[in-house]
């Protein structure tokens, strides 16, 4: 059975591998330090944010290791926006090749999303360094972080499938996503602890925690770094509210993948 599966997806796998490698090579093309930037860039950016938000603005000072939690949130958010943002452009950007060769189009979307994974792995490594410096205790809960990353990935990939297919016909998608992603960014309580929203309105906090991005990031912070943070299950015991992010993730993925599959035979003539 495995052999049959392998045969069916052999071409896709070969192509996927080569596209991811190409993407990574092209990204740092022409820079002196090359791949080293993949590591240096997040390190410098994090250092700036850490100093500004924690040392200067004192946001979340009452919460231990808030600086590290902040970085983890930003890294996960960047991963999510890279999967969606790059994914939604990917089909249109590959128009030249789609018009000339017949191959499974989903490979393009998945390959950009895997490139985002490479960045995420590097960034998480940098967060780990900051965590060690800040004295975050290693815990079993940290093992849950990859689970929430995968949840975020499935949600983001579903959106990327859907939006990349819509983008072929309506180029407005990029602009709409830019606006929506800003709303989602602040609505997911990434730059501030969710507790700040709780002190304003408990219901709004629960509502925010129902979106998969907020829930995945807050839970990763809660289980991985410090449980002095509010997250979905500390705010409500309503099973529907707690299940909502997972249901939304699954629905988004299925709808996105099905729509993509339905539209992909027409990409070549619509682009």
């Amino acid at each position: 059975m495995f052999e049959k599966l392998y045969k069916k997806y052999r071409y896709s796998l070969i192509l996927l591998r080569e596209l991811v490698i190409t993407d990574f090579k092209l990204r740092y093309q022409g820079s002196v330090l090359g791949y080293l930037w993949a590591l240096l860039r997040p390190m410098f950016l994090f250092a700036i944010m850490y100093i500004f938000f924690v040392e200067v603005l004192h946001i979340g000072k009452e919460i231990p290791h808030w600086g590290v939690a902040l970085l983890l949130g930003i890294v996960m958010w960047n991963f999510f926006t890279e999967v969606v943002g790059q994914g939604l452009k990917s089909i249109v950007n590959s128009g030249g090749i789609i018009r000339k060769i017949n191959f499974p189009k989903y490979i393009i979307v998945i390959s950009t999303s895997l490139s985002a994974f490479i960045n995420l792995a590097i960034n998480l490594g940098v967060v780990a360094i900051f965590g060690a410096i800040d004295g975050v205790e290693p815990s079993w809960g940290m093992l849950l972080i990859p689970v929430f990353v995968v949840e975020l990935y499935i949600f983001g990939l579903g959106m990327a499938f859907f939006l990349s297919a819509v983008n072929v016909k309506f180029r407005d998608v990029g602009y709409i996503w830019e606006v929506v992603s800003q709303a989602l960014f602040y609505g997911s309580a990434i730059m501030f602890p969710l507790d700040r929203v709780v002190s304003m309105s408990h219901d709004i906090a629960v509502f925010l925690a129902m979106n998969p991005v907020a829930q995945a990031i807050q839970d990763a912070r809660y289980f991985g770094i410090t449980n002095n943070l509010a997250t979905a299950h500390t705010l409500t015991s309503n099973i529907w509210a707690l299940l909502a992010p997972f249901v939304i993730t699954l629905v988004m993925f299925v709808v996105g993948a099905l729509y993509f599959r339905k539209r992909s035979p027409y990409f070549a003539e619509d682009i």
């Binding site: 052999r10 071409y11 070969i14 192509l15 591998r17 080569e18 596209l19 190409t22 090579k25 092209l26 093309q29 022409g30 030249g96 090749i97 789609i98 018009r99 000339k100 060769i101 017949n102 191959f103 016909k169 309506f170 180029r171 407005d172 035979p265 027409y266 070549a268 003539e269």
Partner: protein, 248 residues
């Protein structure tokens, strides 16, 4: 199992041509409200094309510019979907609508060989095994570590062609890939065609070169205004094709 490698049955293809390119939500939404005025017309590129290609045929498709040849090839290659009608294949189809599709100018010749190989379904190991032959055939030994943007167009075509001829296919579709290149390139193409013919590969060739048609094809069709105007032997088809230009 039929004896046909490709069966094209009553294929029609029309494209909707809007007067203004409708690429934004605003125009789409406003159009919902004024359905009558669609502001465009349909262009019928293919009006019911049928023909069969037998296994081992070297099949020519001839026609003037704009007659629908390329649309037909793209439908056979499953790049476009037919508006109606069916296309059936038996075996693996590899098509070259253009040489060097997917080449990245910022990457070296070597890296592009691997990328192009992957598009043809070759794993890294498989490309490695034939890499030296590819480079030798392209006569680009000294340039493989140069970025592709520094290649001349002739060098690019040579590299693309050297990778392309490695393709393992039951049915090969070639669209005027040979319209470029100098005499030595042309000679290599001819040798490649001869091997294809010798190996009894199924080939569909679109070309404007009647000498190629006469030399390699055993059958051919002439397409005019989206319809098959003539179907038969290569020599007769070539005559028919040339007649198209005499009328005017």
């Amino acid at each position: 199992m039929s004896n046909y490698a490709v069966e094209v049955h009553n294929v029609k293809k029309s494209f909707y041509l809007p007067h203004h390119k409708n690429n934004s939500l605003k125009t789409a939404i406003t159009q919902v409200f004024k359905k009558k005025d669609k502001g465009g017309n349909t262009f019928n590129a293919l009006n019911g094309v049928s023909f069969n290609v037998e296994k081992g045929d070297f099949f020519g498709i001839l026609g003037r510019n704009g007659s629908g040849k390329s649309t037909l090839l793209k439908i056979i290659s499953e790049i476009y979907q037919p508006t109606s009608g069916t296309v059936k294949h038996e075996g693996k189809v590899v098509s070259f609508i253009e040489l060097g599709v997917g080449f990245k100018t910022e990457l070296s010749g070597r890296e592009n060989v691997y990328l192009n190989g992957a598009l043809l379904g070759f794993s890294k190991k498989e490309v490695e095994a034939m890499y030296d032959d590819i480079v030798e055939f392209a006569e680009l030994e000294k340039f493989m570590d140069q970025k592709l943007k520094n290649y001349s167009s002739g060098m690019k075509v040579r590299l693309a062609f050297s990778v392309a001829i490695r393709a393992k296919a039951d049915i090969l579709i070639l669209d005027e890939v040979l319209a470029v290149g100098d005499a030595s390139f042309k000679r290599k193409c001819n040798e490649y065609f001869k091997t294809l013919k010798h190996d009894k590969k199924t080939v569909i060739l679109v070309t404007h070169s009647m000498s190629d048609v006469r030399e390699y094809c055993n059958k051919a069709i002439v397409i005019e205004k989206g319809k098959v105007q003539f179907e038969g032997g290569a020599d007769e088809a070539a005559e028919e094709y040339l007649k198209l230009f005499e009328k005017k």
